[in-house]
């Protein structure tokens, strides 16, 4: 897999922490591989919206990657609940059902961005940088191991 210049947290230079939420183990593993190629770290995983809310409270990750269609509680509702309680939360929806109505609903209810599955690593990389804004810094390739 292509390696990207690592994106670190500006405040402490540490790896960006991610919570991956998807009911498919396969999809979670794939997303995990992609964010590791950005120098990110998997803080935790969840297979449904309800677990995502409790895992967010427990882990306080920098970014949540959230699927939409999931059992128990769907992703848009979970994103809304997380953002209501934690306005600083950065939730990026990652779903194959990327129709306009869904995208608008997700953004209106607190998601910061939407990425269509199948995920193109280069697209997610740009979205992550955009969503982190000044809280993220791209390390030089030479400093990748630092």
């Amino acid at each position: 897999m292509e390696q990207f210049a690592p994106v670190k947290r500006s405040k402490d230079g540490q790896a960006v922490q991610y919570l991956i939420v998807d009911d498919s183990v396969f999809a979670r593993k794939n997303l995990g591989r992609i964010i590791e190629s950005f120098g990110g770290q998997i803080a935790g995983e969840a297979g449904d919206g309800l677990t995502a809310i409790s895992e967010y409270d427990r882990l306080k990750p920098d970014i949540v990657l959230m699927d939409i269609t999931m059992p128990q509680m769907e992703g848009i509702e979970a994103a809304e609940k997380i953002v209501q309680k934690n306005p600083e939360a950065r939730v990026v929806m990652v779903s194959s059902v990327g129709y306009q109505e869904n995208i608008v609903a997700a953004l209106q209810r607190g998601a910061r961005h939407f990425v269509q599955k199948p995920v193109k690593p280069e697209v997610l990389y740009e979205v992550i940088k955009y969503v982190l804004g000044e809280d993220g810094a791209v390390a030089s390739a030479a400093g990748a191991g630092a």
């Binding site: 498919s24 396969f26 999809a27 194959s96 059902v97 869904n102 199948p118």
Partner: protein, 164 residues
């Protein structure tokens, strides 16, 4: 079954498979089926309800499923690995999600149900209303079958969506 319903699924399968397998693919065979569908191996079925109703089955022989899953995972997976079945479900999810996005933007409203894995030999029989179209995609990892049986549930939605 109308072509305007089928085309988004063909386009989505082409896009998802070509990107995931990083090689071009082609439709090798296309047929209509009224008899009960006989599964080839690892099959995931997704049901739709709403303005359009029916189901789509994604089906791969076990060896092909392992090769495709390995490609998507970026690491070699044995046929027996549970991740292979997960991968087929996720593949079906992505193809159908992408097709549904196109149909939804055309005005059709419906719900996509989570994928269900099939291990039995025979699938559901099609009816006169939901005659199934079976497509065989020729990929570098082997044939991938997509069995589509859909019908309009709400004729008003059909008229407004097609006219949109």
């Amino acid at each position: 079954m109308k072509m305007e319903l089928i085309q988004p699924f063909i386009n989505a399968a082409d896009a998802v498979l070509s990107q995931g397998l990083q090689s071009p693919m082609a439709i090798e065979n296309l047929s209509m089926e009224e008899e009960a569908y006989r599964f080839k191996g690892v099959a995931a079925m997704i049901e739709l309800s709403g303005d359009i109703e029916g189901r789509i089955i994604f089906d791969l022989a076990p060896k092909t499923a392992a090769r495709v899953a390995s490609h998507f995972a970026g690491t070699e997976l044995p046929e027996t690995d549970g991740l292979v079945r997960e991968a087929v479900c996720e593949l079906a999810n992505q193809v159908i999600g992408n097709a549904v996005a196109v149909l939804n933007d055309q005005g059709f409203k419906f719900r996509v149900h989570p994928p269900a894995l099939h291990t039995s030999e025979q699938g559901p029989k099609s009816t006169e209303d939901t005659e199934a179209l079976v497509l065989c995609f020729d990929t570098a990892d082997g044939p991938v079958f997509m069995n589509i049986a859909l019908r309009y549930h709400n004729p008003t939605a059909q008229a407004s969506a097609v006219g949109a």
